[in-house]
Symmetry: D2
Subunit: 339 residues, 4 copies
């Protein structure tokens, strides 16, 4: 295989994600503050949910481990996963009266986007360790965890339980840091659990700021990417991707190499969903056995497609779309100037 | 005056409501379950908010005492109150990170409507006794309290503080029972605080079921309206309205009389908001010095207008609309059959 | 009867108290800070418990309504009540893992005493409205409530339930304000519930500072005892006792009169328990039909006996002891100088 | 060195413990249920506190990292540590109104002992990661953590922070499992954090039952000690001690060897404190460079001395006492029969 990740071809599932399932309510009236928006459209959301939908659209066999509210929103989410061909047998239904997390999006301009979150008493953070289905993790080549699920008990313990199963059964583990300050109670708490989880992961993907948050425990005052990556190679990691926003992403591998890839122009509607579609595209590439830089390129193109659209989950592309996007960019048919 | 309520003509405000301010998200696609709805329209909601908007539309001088979240939803609410001419100087802004309460409505059919509530960590229940502006209550002829605000501390204490100010300054007090089981922890707790508040009120409006809930402390196994009303006349009440759904409402007065009024046909879209528009219309009638039955009739017609519309707050009628509706009904121009 | 309180002679119980049952751990080594004390002696404590024990010692038929922890401390309390002849059938046992409240006493000097409280997750504050046995209140001449039980739900609702039963069955209601700042969350909350309860009581006993706390809602900047008392005569009260520490207590009655009584010398060990024994002695006197000033005098002598002793509950005197104490004081046999 | 642990001789402190500091209230009247005990004697308690006191008595340079309440109990604890020569500069004082944990002991018979715990809102569980003084851990040869401190946030994160510092600075880490069911919310949560901590420790000491609790995540249905120990040698451990109560303890080392030691007779008063004094004695032996079995023997003798006494902390022996106890046992001067 031409990249650092080793997937067990004998496994029957390609991809299992664990963590947040929620609802995005995207303002239909864009380029204005939410005080002035009147109508909203409902989508399935949550970073691991988006990535899982993305992987399924790309043609992989996928499953989800999570928890939904026992209400119309929860049933909408489960119905959508089923419709997308995602095995939702690991999605349990809360019986305690929890609600579905909500994210109201506000798009003031393509570059000025924000989210109003409803995260009190949400079902996804109530997933318990005992509800994590070992057989799903035993069957998968790749497990994805997401930082948000570490924010509170019992979801936090469920993630560590999932990591334990993945280690036991030899699944490759990817960690999408996905740090969101709300629901965490302190920086110390955040750093402690991010580090405990990251020590067990094979692939770690995050922004420079997310890695900074984790390093408050350690020593890297110069915020040097090599030092950051090297720490994780001393634990379980094979690949560490550090995202620098407009300056592009760099992938570091245990062999000491670093990898960059081309970026593509896009007619940006909003920035939401860029990271999730990038992660789906990149991990898909790795699982095809592509070079790391080719995988990164595929992720970038997938991200361009999503940020050119109104939704996140619903806009996740199929593989031919991504290939076509790359070709059209290379042919000069898509330019940012046409935005 | 021809009804039992005595309003102090020297006061500069007609009406002050205290309690819940929230957001209604009404499904645009009706006559289906919420799992299948895709878009929602945003309105100001909450029973006392709706009543206050109704009173303002009817031409009265109004103010609101409550608390909103420090976010786009909160600012939308305050902006709407201002636009409607309601004095919002008594609406404080939460600084603790609370959210705005949400009510997603589901209209499966005109008679099968339900609400999915978001009531965790909501700003309206964080109104504190010290934030209740005495000068607003000192200035008003009529104070309205609503049962939902009694559900939790500190909002519960704020309501008792408001009642204390109203007693001190001679405002007539109306209590819209508005009992919603969520947020209350037990039937005993509910009954205790509803009774403590009702003992101090001049006008009490509720359904038979709401009065049943309050009487679990007492003795009225036959659910006799006269016994129910008589209890409150031993305390502060002058008027007790008991609503029997399709069988209409009955108003009892301290003099031992009971009053009924005509009901009107309507092309029903949904049942939400009927009680709020009824309360606004009835209290408006009382404040005009109308007979109780005439006030009830006006309330019924106002309710018909609201339930024929998609929203609650936004559909609150002006006085001429209500008079016209009554006239058209009497002329046979509006019939339920035309629904 | 020669005092303002009217007790129903047909009732089979003299006295029922509702509220706090806890454990006092009194330092055996006195006149030093608790950092230097080594051993503690265990007693039943809690203001209403002490008063009830006092009433039973004085020869009355008594019962208690409260809740104890399901542990050795809880069983010690119930055993002690039984031993003292108090009907403990209204004392329920918590099943939620709550603990028994503790009060470690520190006696640095006879006039410098303090208490270290353990009040987290205590059983006594978990008494529920549904656990208040109506038949005990129906059977009693006099019900005592205590402010501490108002500090939290569900105990708060249990007190209002008890008041409702007492009103229904014609029991005289005494309110020992017993305000302790811990467990209350704000001054506003405190004042609201103290006032709601006091409005329903026949006899109110408290310190000037406790009445000040209740009057933050009202208008008495000069802290005038007559204004304070008059407010309650507008509600249910017949007798209001305001305690001024060393300056003695004054009883106000609905007829506009005020009453003072002699005080007695004592060899003070500590000040704890003075208020509880005073209340027991005073209420006992009232129930004997004595003049108010004679009742107050009896309360004062009972208090002298308790503060001359190491414990509170265990030192509650029998009636002959109190009479003897008064006689010995009048005969000059007891003087403070002999302390 | 003749045992598996490698201590850095250049460090200026021998031993630092992190975790629980509390108060034991030992019934003075023994051989009866607590319902019948009347007086209690106050001691410093808490497993890591006892071990630290033991290490200091044995002549080592020690320090403690923890948190105490801002009250007389907290000051008593800090004063006692100072008196024992323990560096308490790492003991912070809570400012949030937390209390000191209490343990009332009940000794029905030498073999029937129980504890009544007060663990609500205790200061020791409020130690924060940011309050763990890195310089103390940097300076110590040996760090002890205790399972109780993992039971709740923020103390849980403080322990992981301490482990991170110990790894960074090369301190040997000992983990006294000290599992107490109260304060933990579920078995899954317990197992997750015990495992995450144990993975980072060099010496792990616990009962067979404690290791069973940790293995619910794994596969050891036969409860085989070798399998248990082997798991930890795959992580950081060099020594794993599994205690089998009356059947004695077995130490496993990374080289595949197992070690047993003689046990000694004792005139048992109560069983409390046996584990803490054993741990102190054993760790002391290791730090002297003794063979593992000699260290275990020393621990056993230290335990015998403590269980023959009324207290835990106060009875911790000095080294000559332990040596003398062993000699007297070997000489037949102490026998269990003399109990």
């Amino acid at each position: 295989m031409s990249n650092a990740a080793r997937f067990d071809a004998a496994k029957t599932l390609d991809f299992v994600a664990v963590g947040r399932l929620c609802i995005d309510l995207n303002a239909n009236e864009i380029n204005r503050p939410m005080e002035e928006t009147v109508t909203f459209t409902k989508y399935v959301g949550g970073s691991p949910a988006n990535i899982c939908i993305g992987m399924s659209r790309l043609g992989l066999k996928t499953a989800f481990i999570g928890k939904v509210a026992n209400d119309q929103m929860g049933r909408f989410i489960t119905g959508y996963l089923n419709k997308e061909g995602i095995d939702a047998s690991g999605v349990t239904v809360d019986q305690s009266g929890a609600v579905t997390g909500l994210a109201f999006t506000e798009i003031k301009s393509p570059t000025d986007c924000s989210i109003l979150m409803y995260r009190d008493n949400v079902a996804d953070l109530l997933l318990e360790a005992g509800e994590v289905r070992e057989e799903l993790i035993a069957a998968t080549k790749l497990l994805l965890i997401s930082g948000t699920a570490l924010a509170q008990s019992p979801s936090r313990e469920a993630v560590f339980q999932a990591l334990d199963y993945a280690k036991k059964h030899g699944a490759v583990i990817a960690f999408d840091l996905d740090y969101r300050p709300y629901t965490w109670t302190s920086d110390e708490e955040t750093a402690v659990y991010y580090n405990l989880a990251a020590e067990k992961c094979d692939i770690i993907i995050g922004t420079r700021e997310e890695f900074d948050m984790m390093e408050r425990l350690g020593n890297n005052p110069g915020r040097d990417d090599h030092i950051t990556a090297a720490k994780w190679f001393d634990h379980s990691a094979d690949i560490v991707i550090i995202k620098h926003g407009k300056d592009g992403s760099i992938a570091y591998t245990k062999d000491g190499a670093s990898h960059r890839a081309r970026s593509f122009p896009a007619k940006v509607v909003k920035t939401f969903g860029a990271g999730d579609s990038y992660a789906a595209g990149f991990l898909y590439g790795l699982m095809q056995g592509w070079e790391i830089s080719a995988s990164m390129e595929f992720g970038s193109a997938a991200a361009c497609i999503v940020i050119s659209s109104h939704s996140c989950s619903d806009a996740m592309p199929k593989a031919p779309q991504v290939h076509e996007y790359i070709e059209r960019c290379l042919a000069g048919e898509i330019t940012a100037a046409s935005n």
